[in-house]
Symmetry: C2
Subunit: 188 residues, 2 copies
């Protein structure tokens, strides 16, 4: 991922998304992907060791053949009030997009910290689906095993704009889909 | 609700529950209910204005005819590190029940603060179901519109023991059940 000058920052109703103007690229499994956008979920959409986390970020990367991989990280509340560098440039613009459908432009963004983060951490990998419609299958998820810090104040600000926007957690990869399990138990 | 001397405090796997030794009673809609137990969910199982909250507490009250009402409150993170009085006597015993199936006994509990809290706040009321099996229907829920404070530190402690133990949020009362909606859309 390369640095980007600025981004269109939108409240889509389903999430708050930064549409990246100058794409950075990532080589993953010998294919080149462009960073398309990144967005947030409150709470995060992955559990780790059965615990939930207050917020998550998804970096959506697309290759020229349409392949998608999502680089994900989970936030944990910091006891010292610190925030991941990723959040600082979004704090002010967040207040400009409290309404669904609204958008603004961020100031200069730098991805150097988050790039370093993903280069250092270990990643959980599985093949899943996009967590918002059309929930496209065959998407590779890479989830960091290390948390990014968010202060209770920043968490409260993000949550008040994003609302609850997490898909409920699916079964573990390879297990039967929860909806299908439940559907099979409904009275005919 | 009257004060109680102490309680059996158990990790049931599904939640952490205080089994109340000396029941207090509450008169609700001209019927007398006894406080049976109270337990916690991380995150809370109710959304308010579409936002989720990091933890919730359910006081389960049962009448002699088997009627159940649940008095619920949601916790919001405090920016000042304060905790609702309810949590202090549970903090030490919590560390004794980190394993599923373990239990301990709490020190003296007082319900005077939480009783005052429920007497002052406004309550959302609806008829729902228990949120853990057997998910009994016909349960009255009364949910406080005001939040109890929890510090990030206490939240982290509770979450590490309770894990993710919330049923996913159902549709609004009167709407079709989410599982039934989803099941109807599955390919035959």
């Amino acid at each position: 991922m390369l640095p980007s000058k600025s981004a269109e920052f939108e409240n889509l109703g389903s999430t708050v998304e930064a549409e990246v103007v100058i794409n950075g690229t990532t080589i993953f499994e010998r294919k080149t992907y462009s960073l398309k956008q990144y967005h947030f979920h409150t709470p995060a959409e992955h559990l780790i060791d059965a615990q939930f986390y207050p917020m998550g970020v998804h970096f959506v990367n697309i290759a020229s053949d349409g392949s998608i991989f999502v680089l994900a990280a989970l936030f944990e509340l910091s006891l010292t009030g610190t925030n991941a560098n990723l959040l600082a440039p979004l704090s002010a613009p967040l207040h400009a997009i409290t309404k669904q459908g609204s958008s603004t432009t961020t100031g200069p963004l730098s991805f150097s910290n988050i790039t370093n983060f993903f280069n250092i951490v270990s990643l959980f990998k599985y093949i899943g689906s996009l967590t918002t419609p059309p929930c496209t299958d065959g998407v590779t998820f890479l989830v960091a095993d290390t948390f990014l810090p968010i202060s209770p104040k920043a968490f409260s600000e993000f949550k008040s704009v994003l609302k609850f926007n997490a898909r409920y957690v699916q079964n573990a990869p390879g297990e039967e889909n929860l909806i299908e399990v439940a559907a099979g138990q409904l009275p005919k």
